[in-house]
Each structure stands twice: as structure tokens, then as C-alpha cells.
Subunit: 285 residues, 4 copies
């Protein structure tokens, strides 16, 4: 894939600032679970300032996906993100699973989330990532109706591709489980996610190996991290040290919005893989 | 075990091209799960061309097990596999678990799958691997009735052995969990398979260690990989680099069909271990 | 964060001496499970003397959190802990999950546990850690009513912080899943905790990496270990060897009680982060 | 602990030859699961001859725990074990969980298993290991009634200890989860045991580290392995290579029977820790 200004490959760190939305989305008693709430609070209170300071020092602008409820609950963290010149994208209202919601409810959740983000940022989000990647067949159309440029919830390629949603195009910037920090770090019995937590260097090594692979292929490296996981002290020190050299490897570090714009340009020139969406109109048997 | 042309040991990489069949087999709503569908689509769209290019460059012919539904859904990937001179084997209709189907249904699934494969390849498949290895006591007979030479779903040996199915012989080319890429890489909550994803080098190291062990023993090394897992960018780079040297180690790299033919020859000479099948005629208490 | 006497950072090893309380808390038939009981007995019978001997030799005073039932069931272990000059803290009555108990029941459990500890130690515990970290919105108030100085069940920071519980302050000394020995070592099907047990060095390496990170940040390193896990022979040898050098790194090794006192002093000077508690008064949607 | 002939420490490898008993114990349809049956068949057909050859070459006599049903189903494997001079111990009838059986049923299972073993070996087994370690409060008394010397299902120490069962003594030779090969290697969805399978060297390294720790402490190193797991080709090569040096480290390699005799002698001299059994007479609350 071609990248702007002759960059050999592209790179993006995205943070999903879920905070404690997860425990509330898991059931009506989440607010009573002080431990789970505290685990999520770590993100906006401690990790976000730490991450932003690193980005500031290194001159990076990156993307953050934030549920609308989190924007309202943690305004200071969101303001600091915006002050740093970073992009904020939509990540549902309160990390609800779209697959459990009707098409109408999905639209409502989306509108509520967009409104919350726009009220803070002054602009409507252009990118979306579905909570737990659970994007539905309804969402791409709903996103296009609302002016979104890109989604980042599907895994059908290493590099950006385009979804043809009944003739309209939505850019997809694909994550995958090898570059997501839930497998190495999430230990969260309340939501059924019991991974054997790895050490900081050990858990992050796969991400750095993926970075080298993206460089070799001239592709996109794209991390999906969470402030309360990878933003923890010892882990972020590992990331920070790695970034010092990673930034010198010739990658175009960009926000997903910038990568989406570049991808859309390539698509207009016919230079992007296009997949029809949805893949199916009914059950496959 | 003796191998053709004085080779010291044998080696085979098999890919089960499940694509998104898994999510459809998991329930009637699979088509609505755009994320899970996309995770599977990666295989035929991105990984298969990558794998085939490596095989072409290195002059390798290997085996692919493909559900019938996938053949019809991803014809281009299957055509490319066939153009490369590789073997295609049967992997059920839509990755349904044979253990949940009656003997008649298993026969129907098999016939439907054979027909789909034959329509593309021009030949009836000679090899079978049960989805999730869930081979039943019914299947070996059904396979023999349909002219199959071998199965690759059972684990009673490191090297090929023969099943004596009421006097008829079916060659078994055994996989096992130490050479399957689900344990290191599968993170698929929708089908209850939540492994802590390992890094590319780390997750593949066990396979390479098994290769050395097979060499030492003069046996068969046999990998069971999936395009959407091991065919991902960073992982396949590790495999590709490894193959460069692995091909120089004196192994007979072959398709499972070739290995089955060789094994059948050995069996005719009494040189293969034979196990009666099925092992039991009723409950063991 | 500033530490006493010019220490560059702070460190504490805490042991939760759960013994076999876990299997009794899991259901009324726990006493019949001789294997699970024995796994827990290892703690007070074998690990505690081993740990205390190391602490004695190295001149360390550390904290142990002990359910009241364990104090009564394993008096010799508790006496040895007290003789060593270590702190004992409250860890529920019989490792019951506070979230499954009413506010009144939580108060009863607490009083029963305090009484059991005070009967042995001659002092009321000043610190509390909720079983399985499941602290409720009720507990901080109940703890303050009973004269507790600190809790150690919440994860909203790396370093100590203060909870403002309707105007009263409770010091929080936060654990987190990266410094807890359940993820690397717990294999306990009876309570649904099936981690893939790691080797001694491998499982402990993350803790030591966290120690280095705390040093770099001038923060608090704080391990949450269990006698029947990290106190096992091979694992404790690894810890013991590590301690020999860790003690020379300039950390203030202290009990959580001492760290809480220091933190309270900082808080009185306005030098501690304060979080209102509880975070919410009702369901978040 | 003191060991015979001035040995610095003791070592034992035990194999639980479960074969396919596990899948039959899991439910009445186990016989239909040809894959799971084959996974178990690997043990007696392939792994046992391999293990015995190593033991023969290195002059080792070790212990095998075998369910009675397996003795009858795999007589050749059992005969080969006996011809090698190894000890066979009792491992239930068909790997049934004793905790799911009444005291009377446990006695029946035990008698049936003893009879099956004695018919082959000519002697009644002296040692017992409960399937899945699920020893009950009933079993030690039942074992003593039947002349057993030792059990190996409980984990309250690193080294052998004695159970005082209402005045009678049963030697306990404790296993634990850090020296059991299920955590690194078992991937067995049918019985709910889905570990992320590790590579051969990586999965076995913890056992070897435990061996070094036992040497340092002058204690007992004791592995609990399974033919269908650790007896697989690549893994056993790692063990075999390790054994070459391990045998030169000054350990007393012995059967559990020999270790139990030695422990009983120490106990008679008052040199063994004694635990009353059962620990409890009723529910603990």
C-alpha cells in the first residue's frame, strides 16, 4: 500500500477509553461494584494524562475511541485529549453490545454518542469502533447516514479496505486480535474475560513484532489498546521506550482519521480492495 | 517410518480454510455478526493468496481442507489453490459438528461437500478432516463407501496408521493439539474459544520444535493451520522465513494425499500399525 | 510520590493467607473436598514458616491479610506472623464475597473478623482487603466506622490515594492484576479459576519488572501473593534470591499500615489524589 | 528431609495412564467420540512403549497409576510396564470422580480396580491417586482397610507427610499443579479443560526448574505426567535429553512405593509431619 510523503509504512496507536462503562454495560448493578469501577477509573484518571504526556513530548497525534457516557463522566480526560490535538472517535454510548440492540436502538445509541462527543469536541466524530468489535449489518449504513468516514471493527485485511454499502463507501481500518491488548492483559471476571495476565515486556512484544512485519510489508500497523490495561505504569514504560526508536523507523504515524482520508483517496483511484457489505442477506446453511 | 526416495522424514502443512463457516455453523444468526464474518473472510481474501505465493516461490504443493460451503462462497480462492497444483480435501459442508448429526445427516453432509469440491476440482476428494476433529464412529465407513483414501482427524499416533473398518482400510494421518494453531492464536468468543493470543514467533516456535523432533525420529511432521490465524501478515512472515531453512533439512514435503498413498503401500507390506475401528461398540463403564 | 527518609520508591509484599477458606466459601460441601482443603493447608503449614524465616533473615516486616476463620483455624501460623513483628489485616470472615451479602451481613462479617484478629494480635486491624477484591459501596463507610485507616481492594491508581467517603478519608493502597499471583499460578477448578500455571521464574518475572518500573517512577510497588501459590518451594526460592538484590535498590520496604500512615500524612498536606466514594449513587445507563 | 544412602534429594516421575477412560467417565456417549478416544489411545499404544524404552535404557524403575478399566482394555501396555519392573498403582476404576460417588460406591470402585490390577500384576496395589486428585474424606480409611501404604492426591506439603486417619497412618506423597502436565498441555474441550498448549521445551521448563529447587532444599521432586501428553514425541525427546543429566545430580530416583516405605520409616521415628484426617467433620462457615 502507498503512504503519503514516501513513508514506507503506516502506524497508529488507538486507545479505547472505556473506563468503567464496561461494568455498567454488563448489568444494572455495575455501579455497586466498587472494585470494577476503580479498575476502569484508572484509565481517565491516571493513564490518559500519562499517555498524553508521552504523545506531547514525542509530538504525536493519535486517535481515541470514547463511549458517549465516558465523555460526560470524565470530561477532564476528554478535554486533555482534545487539547493535545488528538482525534476522538465514537465507541458507542456506554459500551453496549450493538448485537443486542435493534436497528432503531442502535441508531439512538449512535445519535446519543455523537451528540455527547460533538458537544465536547465541536465536531462530529468521523470514525467508529464497535464495542467488543460487535458491529452489526445495520451499523455501516447508519454510520454513512451520519457522515462517518470510517469504521474500525472488522478484520478482513491487514490494511485499510473499503466497504461497499449499497453503493456508498465506508473505509474500514481493520484491527485484529494479535494487536489488541485484551488477550495479554485483561483479567476481568465480571465480564467473563479471564486471560492469564502477562508481564509488561512479554505482553507487549507481539505488538512490536507486528510493527516490524508491517514495515517489511509496507503496510499498516495498528494497535488497539486500553488506558486501564496498556496505560498502566510498567506497561506504558515499555511502550514509551519502544516508541523512541519506533518513531525513527520511517513509519507514517497518523490518526485513523488521516489514514481513512488517505485510504479514501486511494479508493477513489481504484487502489483499495472493496468488499460488498453486508456479506449476507440471510442465514447460511 | 520409511519415506520415499531416502528422505529422512516427512513434512506437511495443511490449511483448513474454514473462512466464516464457523460462525454460521454456530447458529442461524451468524450472518448478522459482521465482525466474526470479517475475521473469517480474511482467510480466502488475504491469507490464501499470500500462502499460495509462498508455495509457488518455494515450489511446494500442499493440502487444503475446505468445507463445501466455502468452495461455493469463495470460488476464487479455491481456484487459485487448484491452479497452484495443491490438493483439496473435504472438511464437512459448513463446518458442522458431525457429532451433532445423525448417520444419515452425516452422509448427506458428506455427499453435498464432495459434490461441491468435485465441481471445482474435477476430482472427488480423497482425504477428509472432521470439523473440530469431531469424527464419529459412522464417518470412516461412510468415507470408505465414497472412495476416500485417508482421514486426518484422529490422534492415536505421531505417524500415519491404518484403521481397520470391518475389513476395509482407511489411512489415518494424525494431527494433534501441539501442532494446531487454535491453541496459540484463536480468540473467538462467539464459538467459546478464548485462547490468550501469543506473539507470532512465540506462537509458532512450538511447531518448529516439533519439526526438529520429527526429523530426529524419522517421522512425520504435520501442521494444522488456518488461513485466518497463521496466514496473518506477521505470523506468515515467521513461517516463510522458517520454510527457507526447513526445506533444506532433508524432509519429504508432500500433500497428505501423497503421504496417504505412501502409507497405504507400507500397509500393504504390513509396515503400518493397524487399529480396529471403531474402538467400541457401546458405552464403557 | 514522596517517601520517608529520602527513599526513592516504596515496596510492599502482602500475603493473603486464605488457606482453605476459599473452598468453604464456595459452598457447604467444601469440607468434603480433601484435595482442595489440602491445597489451602499448604499455606499456613508450609509456606508461612518459610516466608517468615526469609523475612526474619532479611530483617523485613510485612503485611498479611487473614480471614477471621483462618485465624481461628490456623492459630500457630498467625502467632508466628505476629511474633515476627508483621502486620495483620482483615480479609473477611471466611473469604465470603461481600457483593453477595447485605450491608448488615457485611457489617456482621467484619465485626466477627475484627474480633477474631484482635483476640490474637491484641490490636484491631487497621487495614482491609476484600476477598477477591469485591469491595462494595457499603464497605468503606463500615471500615471507617470501625477505625480502619486503609483499604487495599481498588485499582484506580498505581500509588496510594484517598477515598472521600462523605467527608471522611480512607486511604486506598491499590493492588492490580499485574501484581497478583492468581493469574500466573492459580489452577483451581472448584472455584472456576483455571489459569495455565506458569513456571516459577517465568511467572514471577512480571512482578520484578513492575518493581523496576516503580523505581523508575518513584512510586509504590506492591505484590499481592498467596502462601499456597507464591509460597511454594520453587517459587519462593525465586523470590528469595530476588529479594537479596531488591532490598539494595533504595526502596522503602514497609507494611501497608506504615504506607497508609505516610499516605495519610501526605493527604493532610494536600499531597494525595482524592476520589469521591462511592463513584455512583445508582445505575448508569 | 533425609533420603536413603546419603542421596541429597529424591525424585520420581509418575505417569497416570488414563488413556481414553476420561471420555467414558465424562458421559455415556464417550465411546462415540472417535477423536477423543484416539487422543487417549495414544498413551498405551505409542507413549508407553517409548517411555518404557527410555526407562530401560537408563535403568530406571518408576510408578504408573492406572485405572482398572485401562488395565483390562490395554493389557499389552500394562504387561510391558510390569515387565520393566515398574510399580503400578490404583487410579480408580474408569477415572470416575470419587466426589460424585457415595462411600459405598467408592468402596466398590476401589475393589473392582484393585482386583483388575492384582489380576495382572500378581500383587495388590499399595499406592493410590484419585482421578483429578478428587480424593474424598472417605477414601483414606477405605485405602487403609485395603492395605494401601500411600496416597498421592493431596497438596499440603512439598515433601511426603503422614495422614493420621483415626489413629492409622497413611503416607501422603503430594503432587501439585506446578508439576502436573495438564496446565501446559491439556486441550480437551470435551472435559472442559482448555489450556493454551505450550511448546515442548517451554511447557517442560517449569518441571526442570522445580527439580533444581528440590535439590537445593533436599526435598522430593515429583512429576505427574500423562502418556498422551508428556509422552508425545517432541515432548518426550525433551524429557529424555533432560534425564541424561538429571540422573547425575545426586537424586534418589525411586518409585512412589519406595518413597512411601522410606517415609513410613521416618514417620515411625517421628521424623515426618503428621496431619489429622479428615481436616473437618462438617461444613465450615
Amino acid at each position: 500500500m502507498d503512504w503519503p510523503n514516501g513513508a514506507g509504512f503506516a502506524a497508529a496507536i488507538t486507545f479505547d477509553m472505556d473506563a468503567d462503562s464496561l461494568i455498567h454495560a454488563a448489568g444494572p448493578d455495575g455501579w455497586k461494584n466498587a472494585y470494577a469501577v476503580s479498575m476502569g477509573q484508572y484509565g481517565p484518571h491516571v493513564a490518559i494524562p500519562r499517555i498524553l504526556e508521552t504523545y506531547r513530548r514525542l509530538g504525536m497525534k493519535q486517535s481515541f475511541f470514547i463511549p458517549g457516557w465516558c465523555v460526560q463522566t470524565y470530561p477532564k480526560a476528554v478535554e486533555a485529549i482534545l487539547e493535545g490535538g488528538h482525534e476522538i472517535g465514537c465507541h458507542g454510548w456506554i459500551h453496549e453490545n450493538p448485537a443486542n440492540r435493534s436497528a432503531d436502538q442502535q441508531a439512538e445509541d449512535l445519535d446519543k454518542a455523537i451528540e455527547a462527543l460533538a458537544a465536547f469536541s465541536g465536531y462530529r466524530p468521523r470514525g467508529y469502533r464497535a464495542p467488543v468489535y460487535q458491529i452489526t449489518n445495520d451499523l455501516p449504513g447508519l454510520l454513512l447516514d451520519r457522515g462517518f468516514t470510517y469504521d474500525s471493527s472488522m478484520m478482513a485485511d491487514d490494511d485499510p479496505y473499503a466497504l461497499d454499502v449499497s453503493g456508498r463507501k465506508l473505509i474500514e481500518i481493520p484491527p485484529h486480535w494479535g494487536i489488541d491488548d485484551w488477550p495479554p492483559f485483561a483479567h476481568y471476571e465480571e465480564i467473563g474475560y479471564m486471560m492469564p495476565v502477562r508481564g509488561p515486556s512479554e505482553g507487549l512484544a507481539p505488538f512490536f513484532e507486528e510493527f516490524v512485519a508491517a514495515k517489511k510489508d509496507g503496510g499498516l500497523w495498528h494497535a488497539v489498546w486500553h488506558p486501564f490495561l496498556t496505560g498502566r505504569r510498567a506497561r506504558w514504560q515499555v511502550v514509551e521506550e519502544w516508541l523512541e526508536t519506533a518513531l525513527t523507523e520511517g513509519a507514517w504515524f497518523a490518526t485513523l482519521g488521516e489514514i481513512a482520508d488517505h485510504s479514501a483517496k486511494l479508493d477513489a483511484e481504484g487502489g483499495l480492495r472493496v468488499l460488498p457489505f453486508p456479506a449476507y442477506e440471510g442465514p447460511q446453511t
